[in-house]
Subunit: 208 residues, 2 copies
DNA sequence: TAAAAATTAGGACAATGTCCAAAAATACTA
DNA sequence: TAGTATTTTTGGACATTGTCCTAATTTTTA
């Protein structure tokens, strides 16, 4: 097991503190203090605080890219499972989602990494829902407008469930948050699912 | 028409700038500059920036309190109309919602005003949904779990639609945002509404 | 072992929110 | 109306923030 480099130490310590206290409320000097190094040493690896945040965003993007794309035989279970994994990644880098709007508007480096993913995300959700229709998990009579509604609604939820969770459950653990918000997500699909789809949804919720 | 007091000028100017640029990115010196007064003059009326924000929260709370409570004869139209009015107030003080989590966790004065309203809000939504059931607008067979789902889901959406809107539509006007997010809200109820309820929902959406 | 490169330290800088004492303007009172 | 008290406004000080830069130190390379 190799010793961590200074850069890794800074990244990990920053992520830990950002997740706990919020990005805006962790100072460079505090991070340095925890690691018993000087601030100038941090700025050597990360010239600005935004660079640390950008590194976090990049790691999240990479993590999400390792989640395999849906095949043509996508089932409701797989779809839910994929959502669950994405949520897991979001939780790991949750500091990003608690200050979402703020980050996007004032951190160009974050914007650069995240924006391209965003459009892709809409399309992926839409494509997956269509696959679920084709494969008999979602109601085949869903029109485009309802599909758009579901995509919008899912996007909104998946962006802000962590913020909501922070407000509502304070600093509850991952388990509590997952139980609540994955159920919320799954129930969202319920009215538009076929009998087969609903069976998968119910099983997914039971397993939470 | 009486001349505005200094305090009112400060409040209005701050709200305007907060809404446009975000609370965290408007400095006391900038507000002072716009009004051609000195910073010390602001702190005379609002000792800290948090006090300005708290004043904004209070005004929002007051505005929402003027929206009449639902009577026992609540209809789907009225329910949607009430939601629309609340959303209008949120838009007026939208700076608060773009930095929601941040505010709640680090501004005790905001927390004090908002938290009590929050629990009340859950109960109100729940009560109103039950009224809609009783009055034949929502499916009478809704169980408690589905009701909880709807309440959670509505709460999440009504807290974060403004954040989402900022990310997705950038600085689109009120009209664009309303068209999209009120429809999203209304469609949310659609699967659980009765035929009568759905008629109201469809009319509401058409009128947007 | 000496030179070069990478890393770390330490302090300076402008900007921020906050605070305070003195000046100015206004209101009040005899 | 003149003098006093109160409210309002000013201008600058303060600690803290992220950032930047130069010099010292350590590590790597030749």
């Amino acid at each position: 097991m190799s010793k961590n480099t200074t850069k890794e130490n800074i990244f990990n310590q920053a992520l830990r503190m950002f997740n706990e206290q919020g990005i805006e409320y962790v100072g460079m000097r505090e991070i340095a203090k925890e690691l018993d190094i000087r601030v100038g040493n941090i700025t050597y690896y990360f010239p600005t605080k935004d660079d640390i945040v950008a590194a976090i965003v990049t790691e999240l993007a990479d993590a999400n890219n390792t989640i395999l794309e849906a095949g043509d035989d996508l089932s409701m279970s797989t779809f839910l499972q994929m959502y669950s994994e994405t949520s897991s990644n979001q939780y790991k880098y949750r500091c990003l989602f608690v200050s979402f709007v703020y980050l996007m508007e004032h951190n160009p480096k974050v914007k650069e990494v995240y924006i391209p993913n965003q459009e892709k995300r809409y399309k992926t959700i839409r494509k997956n829902l269509k696959l679920l229709m084709q494969n008999g998990y979602m109601d085949a009579s869903l029109n485009d407008r309802t599909l758009d509604f579901l995509v919008s609604s899912i996007s909104l939820m998946s962006r802000f469930w962590l913020s909501e969770g922070r407000l509502r459950f304070n600093d509850a653990g991952k388990r509590t948050l997952f139980k609540h918000y994955l159920e919320l997500f799954a129930l969202h699909l319920h009215p538009y699912a076929t009998k087969q789809g609903r069976r998968d949804i119910d099983r997914f919720i039971d397993d939470l």
